[in-house]
Amino acid sequence: MSGREPPEPELVVEIWRGRESGEFVPYRVARRENQTVLDVVSHVQRRIDPTLSYRFACRVGMCGSCAMTVNGIPRWTCRTRVDRVAGNGRVRIGPLRNMPVIRDLAVDMAPFFDKWQRATGRFVPSDADNRRTFARVPPGSRERQAADAGIECIGCGVCYAACDVVAWNSDYLGPAALNRVWTLVNDSRDGARREHLAAAAGDAGCHQCHSHQACMSYCPKGLNPTAAIAGLKRETVKSLLRGEL
C-alpha cells in the first residue's frame, strides 16, 4: 500500500462568461458534501477567477437574488444541491433567460420588476387613511386562501425565465407579475380591483398565457402562477360581462 489518499472528486463547471454574446468556460471545482450550486459559483469567483460576476444575498432561499440557469433549467442556486443536478460530474451554469445579461451570471431584472408596476402589482388600501376601520380577514375565507396561495413569491424571476410566452412576446407581463395581481384581486383590503383586472386583461396580459405551466414546474416556492393566471382569465371575463372592465 502506498498510503496515498484517493484523488479528491472533482466537478467540471461550465460557466457563462460574457454578455449577450460570450461562451461557457470550464472550471474544475472540488466536490464537497451538501455543496450547493451557489457554493460552486462562489468558489470559482473567490479562488479561481475574481472577475466572475454573479448576484446573491441571503443564501437561504428568501431574497430571490441568486437564480441562474443550471443545466438548462432556471433554479434558485442557493437551495439547489450539486448532487441533484450533476449526475455525470458536470454542471453548466448560465444567466437567467428572458432578461438582458449585464455580465456573466448577473442579469438586469429591471424589465421584470417594471412589469409588476405595469400590472398594478401594488397594494392599494381601500381604507386610504388606514384609521377608520380595522380589517377583519377570516384566514379560512375563499378569497384569503386564494390570495395566500400566491403570497410567498420571492421575486426570483425563475418563472419569468421559464416562460415561453415571455420569450416570444417581450411585452407579456409574465407569471410573477400576474400572480401578484391575483393575490391583490383576492385581497379584501385592496381597493383597486377594477384597475388590477383592467391591467391584467391588457394586450400583454393574462389572456396571452398558453398554460404551458413551466412557471409552476420550476417555481422554487412551489407556487402555481398558471392557476393564478387562469383565475384572472375567469375574473376578467366575469368583469367584462358585468360591464366593469
Partner: protein, 111 residues
C-alpha cells in the same frame, strides 16, 4: 379598451372552440363513414341537397371557424413575428371575411 378587446377575443375563441369540438367529430365521422366503398360527388350531393340538417351543421361550422381561426392566427403572428397593432387586427378581420365567403360558397354548393 385593449383589456376589453382581449377579453372579448378570449371569450369568442373559447366559445367558438366549444361549438367546434363536437362539429369536428361529426365532420370526421361523417367523412370516414361516407367514403367507405367509394363515393362520388354526385352521390354526396344527392344526399345533402335540400337538407336543412347538413346545411345547419356546416353553416354553424363555417361561422365557428370564421371566429376561431383569425383570433388564433392573430395570436401566433403576434408571438412569432414583429407584426402587431391595428394593421394586424384589420388583417385578421379580412381573414375572417375570407373564411365566411369561401365557407358560405362551399355550404351553398352542397345544398
Amino acid at each position: 379598451m385593449t383589456g376589453r378587446l382581449e377579453a372579448w377575443l378570449y371569450v369568442a375563441q373559447r366559445g367558438s372552440a366549444f361549438v367546434l369540438a363536437p362539429l369536428v367529430v361529426v365532420h370526421l365521422a361523417t367523412m370516414i363513414y361516407a367514403i367507405r366503398g367509394g363515393l362520388s360527388a354526385e352521390e354526396i350531393l344527392s344526399r345533402t341537397e335540400d337538407s336543412a340538417v347538413w346545411g345547419s351543421v356546416y353553416g354553424l361550422f363555417v361561422a365557428a371557424v370564421a371566429v376561431h381561426a383569425p383570433i388564433g392566427v392573430r395570436s401566433i403572428v403576434r408571438e412569432m413575428t414583429p407584426w402587431k397593432g391595428r394593421s394586424l387586427d384589420v388583417a385578421a378581420l379580412l381573414f375572417c371575411a375570407l373564411i365566411v365567403v369561401l365557407g358560405v360558397r362551399a355550404v351553398g354548393a352542397l345544398l
